[in-house]
């Protein structure tokens, strides 16, 4: 009885942890030919070092202003939010890049990527919908 109770408790904790620890994923426009990104490619696109997809089309980076997914993106890039912004301002004011599109929430981000060929975003997996393609980063 006691063991059953403990097992139930562990299962409950595991389930609740899973529900709060949302997985984030990279999404691109649904028609993109991209099937996966290396870590270097992922950082290259998000830090403005790569401005074109392999087919030559323009990369449009879409980011959130703040929030959990934004924090996780910064962590994955190894940058603080201010370092990320400063890096892009360096590119923009020397003519080496165009500022990422900034949206207010994850629904807007997914909607933007769904309607914009060439765009790339980073969101909570549960927010993805038709029109975007989930791309694994290896």
């Amino acid at each position: 009885m006691r063991m059953t109770f403990l097992l139930s408790l562990v299962s409950l904790v595991a389930l609740s942890t899973a529900s709060v620890q949302a997985e984030e994923t990279v999404i691109v426009h649904g028609t993109s030919a991209i099937t996966g990104l290396s870590e270097d490619e992922f950082k290259g696109y998000y830090l403005g070092k790569k401005a074109s997809w392999p087919d030559g089309s323009k990369v449009i980076v879409v980011v959130l202003k703040d929030g959990t997914s934004h924090d996780k993106l910064m962590s994955k890039l190894g940058k603080s939010s201010s370092q990320f912004t400063t890096g892009w301002k360096k590119l923009v004011f020397t003519g080496k890049g165009a500022m990422p599109e900034q949206v207010g929430n994850e629904d807007e981000l997914v909607a933007y990527v769904a309607k914009t060929p060439g765009s790339i975003g980073f969101v909570d997996t549960s927010k993805t919908k038709e029109g975007v393609k989930v791309v694994p980063v290896k």
Binding site: A51, S82, T85, K89, K90, V92, F93, G95
Partner: protein
């Protein structure tokens, strides 16, 4: 918005696109900075900086960038700056170039080519020296990034090739090489001021070619990058008239001179390490050039034409550490040093060093306020003509406040 409505059709006409496509790709950005500079014991950039302080310390810029066709990015930035007696907010084309990306030309190897007027990468920060919003301090370390030389090595008209190479376990490498030239004004600007300050009024200032490049290694250690930069200016020639006190002893005031620098070599070795909210940067700068001055000499007899050679070198370095202790607050501390030597017609040696501390407050993502204090030993950064009494003190200090808006 009105500017956008004018720029879009213009850009579209230039690149032969329809207006809607150009509008989709167009971005307009700009910034405005205003500073206040106060010095003690000496003046710098303007006599007004000492005691009362000066607001002749600002930058502004407006740019437009578009990607009219796949792989091609074009843009232009108009900028103006005021720094005491220099620049005086004259609008200039800061950069205007096209960049074509060939993408991955071989496994892990990306190639891009730029043509037009572009910022020269040199050291960690030369191409960002006007971008106040990209650093915690008001001034970059003046030993390596002397603000007086901003318009001399900031941008050139020419071509640049950029190659990036993924190196697996060794990180990645970036190679840049550029060549071109630029024009210098003989009637105003930093170079004109330098010649005037040494008693040599210039009538023409020309350089045959500027070339250089950088190798940047993003090491396998997260946040650590190393860089080496080389810049060469060939066949720099200044011509003009000696005025007043001649720069070369014995040369006759009122007579013509010609100064030639066959090759000017400027090297910077850089290291930058970013670990979480801490950033440490250090750079060593070595400059070498020979000069030949042809002029007229008068040694108690008839005036005779002579030619005098000298060799010059400058060694400079700095180290700085910046820490962002809060999303809105960042602090920086640093040390810098410079030593210049000249051998030939005159043997001179000048050395100075300084300590600085700065704090930055980000009011919003697009508005910041900064303050900086610098204590300096030595007068290598100073000019006699900027001192109210014509003399320079050995120990002096500088306080600067600056605010910047960008969009």
């Amino acid at each position: 918005m009105r500017m956008r409505s004018l720029l879009i059709p213009t850009l579209a006409m230039v690149v032969g696109l329809d207006v809607a496509q150009a509008a989709d790709d167009l971005q307009i950005h700009g910034f405005v900075s205003q500073g206040f500079l106060l010095t003690k014991n000496n003046a710098i950039f303007t006599p007004d900086s000492e005691d009362s302080g000066t607001f002749e310390f600002n930058e502004l810029a407006l740019n437009v960038v578009a990607t009219p066709i796949d792989r091609l990015r074009v843009g232009v930035q108009i900028a103006a700056q005021d720094l005491g007696n220099s620049f005086n907010n004259q609008p200039t084309i800061d950069w205007a170039y096209g960049n074509y990306s060939f993408g991955e030309i071989a496994n892990g190897l990306d190639l891009a080519v730029s043509a037009g007027r572009f910022k020269m990468g040199h050291g960690l920060y030369n191409d960002f020296r006007d971008l106040d919003m990209t650093r915690p301090s008001v001034f970059l370390p003046m030993s390596v990034y002397n603000p007086r030389w901003r318009d001399l090595i900031l941008a050139i008209n020419g071509i640049e090739v950029n190659l990036t190479a993924a190196a697996g376990a060794f990180g990645s490498f970036e190679f840049n090489a550029y060549m071109g030239d630029t024009s210098f004004s003989a009637s105003e600007g930093a170079l004109h001021d330098l010649f005037v300050d040494t008693g040599m009024d210039p009538s023409s200032l020309n350089v045959e070619a500027i070339r250089g490049g950088q190798v940047t290694w993003a090491t396998p250690v997260d946040g650590l990058r190393l860089k080496y930069s080389l810049l060469n200016c060939s066949q720099f020639v200044a011509q003009g008239t000696y005025a007043g006190a001649a720069a070369v002893p014995g040369f006759v005031p009122g007579t013509d001179y010609s100064l030639t620098i066959p090759n000017y070599w400027d090297n910077i070795a850089s290291v930058e390490y970013v670990w979480n909210n801490l950033m440490v940067a250090a750079e060593y700068n070595y400059v070498y050039y020979q000069t030949t001055v042809d002029g007229t000499l008068n040694i108690g007899g008839p005036q005779v034409p002579v030619s005098r050679d000298s060799s010059n070198r400058t060694d400079a370095a700095y180290i700085s550490a910046a820490y962002r202790m809060h999303p809105k607050w960042e602090a920086l501390g640093g040390w810098q040093w410079s030593q210049g030597e000249s051998e030939g017609a005159q043997n001179t040696k000048k050395k100075w060093y300084a300590f600085n501390a700065a704090i930055r407050f980000d009011v919003t993502e697009h508005w910041l306020i900064k303050a900086e204090y610098q204590w300096t030993h030595g007068d290598g950064l100073l000019r006699a003509s900027e001192q109210a009494d014509g003399t320079r003190e050995e120990i002096w200090s500088l306080f600067a406040l600056k605010t910047t808006f960008d969009f």
